[in-house]
């Protein structure tokens, strides 16, 4: 979609009748794409749901071993980045080029912060041998609220597998998002966006917010299982 705007002048592409048609098509297309993304993550959520019901205690033990404070901080970081995205679009709508560029840079900084914190989290898990695979170990970890009960390492491994795949795919989406925003920044720098024409910003923003929404679910589901003991 973004590729459509290569012509310097935000001109109407030949096959659209009006600019509005072009803009509506682009945003509608993005929403449809997000629908496929929902189903993409949906398969993982379905697997998660089933195993969480089966192995609740083991999932709780595994979840408790993750640093929820880092996860919480990351949630806040993403929420802030979503705010900067809407502010960037607002800046484009009101012809504030400096603000637009500032907000885009801020968004990307938040995104990088998120990935950095994520990296710390992954490093912790790596040191604790909680990465599924040959070196995985989760022996003698008590199930929260059940003294004397130890989590089954195999079941904990399923949790960590889902944790790494879900957060990993999410992080991959963040990286792609950063790529899109780099391009948006470049285009904003060139002064391509005007109050009349800023479709790529809106499209990129939709994508960024979607990634945020996925995280809003991942945070309680992966980090906050049975924390109350």
């Amino acid at each position: 979609m973004a590729a459509h705007t290569e012509s310097h002048n935000p001109a109407l592409l030949h096959h659209f009748a009006t600019e509005e048609q072009q803009r509506n098509s682009a945003s509608f297309g993005m929403w449809i794409f997000l629908a496929t993304e929902v189903m993409f993550f949906g398969g993982l959520f379905c697997a998660y749901l089933i195993y969480r019901r089966w192995y609740f205690g083991d999932f709780a033990a595994a979840s408790t071993s993750i640093n929820a404070k880092l996860g919480g901080a990351n949630t806040a970081v993403l929420i802030c980045s979503s705010l900067t995205v809407v502010l960037a679009i607002w800046a484009a709508q009101t012809s504030r080029r400096a603000l637009l560029i500032g907000m885009l840079i801020l968004t990307m900084l938040f995104g990088l912060t998120f990935l950095g914190i994520k990296g710390i989290e992954y490093a912790d898990k790596f040191h604790e041998h909680h990465v599924p695979g040959a070196s995985f170990s989760f022996d003698h970890e008590e199930i929260p609220g059940n003294p004397g009960h130890y989590a089954n390492p195999n079941h904990a491994q399923i949790f960590f597998a889902l944790y790494f795949i879900m957060t990993g795919l999410h992080a991959l989406h963040m990286v792609i998002g950063l790529g899109i925003f780099t391009w948006l920044l470049w285009a904003a720098w060139k002064g391509r966006f005007t109050p009349e024409y800023h479709t790529p910003l809106e499209i990129g923003g939709l994508y960024w917010h979607f990634v945020d929404i996925v995280w809003i679910y991942l945070f309680p589901l992966l980090y906050l299982i049975d924390r109350h003991t």
Binding site: Y55, N146, G148, H149, Y150, N152
Partner: protein, 334 residues
């Protein structure tokens, strides 16, 4: 030529007739529908073929007609659904007093063990007119136990039991197929079911066996030291297993569960997953320590100490493990 050109499979189980009846009903229904549509298409195509100067007559459609051919098929479908569901429920509900055969599937072989202890490979001997329940599991991938003459099929999964049953009605030898693709020699994972007259079957059964499966299980039970905790009185660290099988069990998290084959199996291989109320999760897992056949024997044993009908007879056996348990404990202390 027609000796070797059958158009209908053997009908050799109590379910076969029921499935065939439904199948014939469906053939008639769909045959009628096909005939209706084909006749209409052929007739219209011939009757209304293009003729110069005769234009087509435009018809917009007809809601009553649409409703008719929505509602009538729906009605027919519901009849099929209910009938087929009844048949399916019969297939999936093994009769209570069925003879039990434990099946272990592996690439690419069927291993079968009668409750009485006879072991067979790729062949199963059963008496005619007796309910046989198959308790099946796989050592590796998914297989499927399929006997066309019995109209019976059930996937055999690794990691749990699936259950099927049949009641053979006609002596003879029938194909046993693996119906779920399981790797290179999938088409070689075949065998036969030999249905015998009761007298013949008894004769066959009397030939060599290492004693009933439950006795084998009892021996393993003792060897593994299970009786240390699962004592016949109530003072053990684990639940008393007498009379447990087939009964509801209250778990520590409040759930009620029926102690079926899968539950006993899970309790051996993953004891932490379902703790009986009032007990501590102290039992170690036996995953990897016992083979599928040994798990089957243990399940058969747990079952045998729970059969109420033979309660008195079994209680004698049940006292025995106590002696054995002392031994096992002793050996453990050493």
């Amino acid at each position: 030529m027609f000796d070797n050109f059958p158009l209908w499979p053997d009908r050799a189980s109590s379910m076969a007739g029921k499935v065939d009846a439904l199948y014939i009903f469906l053939i008639i229904v769909s045959g009628m529908m096909t005939l209706l549509i084909f006749t209409a298409v052929v007739y219209f195509a011939a009757r209304y073929r293009y003729r110069k100067g005769v234009p087509a007559e435009q018809i917009e459609g007809s809601t009553p007609l649409e409703l008719t051919w929505t509602v009538i098929p729906m009605g027919v479908f519901m009849v099929i659904f209910i009938w087929s569901a009844v048949v399916y429920f019969k297939m999936r509900t093994p009769p209570r007093d069925a003879t039990e055969v434990y099946v272990v599937a592996k690439q690419w072989m069927w291993k079968l063990e009668h409750a009485e202890g006879q072991r067979e490979i790729n062949e199963l001997h059963v008496p005619v007119d007796r309910d046989v329940k198959l308790i099946m599991t796989s050592q590796d991938v998914i297989h499927s136990f399929y006997v066309p003459a019995f109209r019976m099929k059930q996937d055999v999964l690794p990691g749990r039991y699936t259950v099927a049953w049949f009641r053979a009605t006609k002596p003879g030898t029938y194909h046993l197929f693996c119906a779920e693709y399981c790797g290179t020699q999938h088409s070689g994972m075949i065998g036969s079911i030999v249905v015998m007259e009761p007298a013949q079957f008894e004769a066959w059964m009397s030939g060599g066996s290492g004693g009933p499966l439950s006795a084998t299980g009892e021996k393993i039970f003792a060897e593994l030291g299970c009786a240390t905790c699962h004592r016949a009185d109530t003072q053990g660290r684990g639940p008393n297993l007498q009379g447990v099988f087939g009964k509801p069990v209250q778990l520590e998290d409040g759930r009620m569960i029926t102690a079926d084959e899968n539950y006993v199996r899970e309790s051996i291989l993953d004891p932490g997953s379902k703790i009986v109320k009032g007990f501590k999760p102290v039992m170690p897992t036996f995953q990897g320590l016992v083979s599928e056949e040994q798990v089957n024997a243990l399940v058969a044993y747990v079952k045998s100490v729970s059969q109420s009908g033979a309660a008195t007879g079994k209680s004698a056996a049940a006292t025995e493990p106590e002696g054995v348990s002392g031994k096992a404990q002793g050996s453990k202390v050493q």
